[in-house]
Symmetry: C2
Subunit: 252 residues, 2 copies
Amino acid sequence: MKSSRSAAGVDPTVPAPAVELVGLAAYTELAEFGLLAARSVDAPDLATRQALADGADRALGRQRALLALVSADDGVVPGVVGAAVMAPFDDALTDFDARTDTDDWAEGLLKGVVGHGVAQDFCRVLAGGLDGSSGRAVRQVLERPAPGPEAGADAGADAEAIWLLARLAAADDVLGSRLALWGRRVVGEALGVVTALLGRRPELAALAAESASRSGVDLPPAPDRDDAVRTWLVARLTGEHTRRMDRMRLAA
Amino acid sequence: MKSSRSAAGVDPTVPAPAVELVGLAAYTELAEFGLLAARSVDAPDLATRQALADGADRALGRQRALLALVSADDGVVPGVVGAAVMAPFDDALTDFDARTDTDDWAEGLLKGVVGHGVAQDFCRVLAGGLDGSSGRAVRQVLERPAPGPEAGADAGADAEAIWLLARLAAADDVLGSRLALWGRRVVGEALGVVTALLGRRPELAALAAESASRSGVDLPPAPDRDDAVRTWLVARLTGEHTRRMDRMRLAA
């Protein structure tokens, strides 16, 4: 983790696992900005276009709050420290994107909600494994509801997207079934990204194990430990995904 | 203009021409958000992706400041008042978009810089024709440089795009020539949109005439008046466009 710690613009007093997690979470928000913005550009009407643009904007707002946690300089532009801490994750979603490519507007929107939802939940679980004041700071940003049109559980960058999808599915059963099927496919791919990241980034795997053990999970010793962590994590992420699909009245 | 004045969420004390101009300017920022965000999504590298996302974000920030000027309620979400005041302009860029469609990344970026530049300059000229406190407030928002990586003339939503295009053109003469040619085509189409809007929206034509006369232009009486206003406006917008192309080292 030396390379992240000494990267341009990164505060050297922030522990490496926090830098790693902030990089992943910031990358997640930039990806969600792109997905929401793309659906804003080809939205069916002006109100939808505005709503999704506002959601994309909030994704970047959270990204900025995350990057500020690891910036050496208060006045730093996100581009500098952002590129440094996000670089390890730059190709993390390439396969996911290719395997969930769609020309359908509602499917594209749901891809963002499901994929970003899993990614955010993953980051929150990992944050549970961080120590000290930087851990508290990261958890505070990740758990803070972004200001949005709806208060409560949905008030992240995806609030408008969730509301739009729920409305579309309620008005059209055939579309609702298609979206439910699509959601199952996307969540499968998203969980694949999560487990691949755990395999590739030992810092993240260590955070997941620490988070599991702080949650009271009785982990077996190596070599079964990694499998147990992965199983626990996938179960938690799937549970959150099911709640999210329920809020859109889509069968998970 | 009754329809704008009584539209949902719009402050009834704001004069109709100010509501009209704010609607146009807000629509312009939403369009620029979309153009920058789309080029962020397919940017060649992470730093560029972040830079253009930040620019798109600033376009929405300015849009929010504009919509706040005409909102009846301080806590209104942009979607409500935004859709109301932007609706008259919802199809204003359809022809422009179709006629300047391109798959080339740099051309797409330059389309945004040139089109948005002309639109912003147009809005600033029109704001010069507004009376009273609402006129001053609109001018203040339109002339305020957005916070960005570069201070000065370029520090709007397009700051990063301008810098990127200047760098690309400087590194590749063939691309520079192609972009210069493309810029001439885009500015022609953008000026076509402006003159079409003047013909279609009498409130805007009246603002343009008032702005010309406050700038000391000696306008002839009708029926030559409209032509004279149009000629003056096109000359001003072309002049600003030339300066903008110069800053990117592209031949206007």
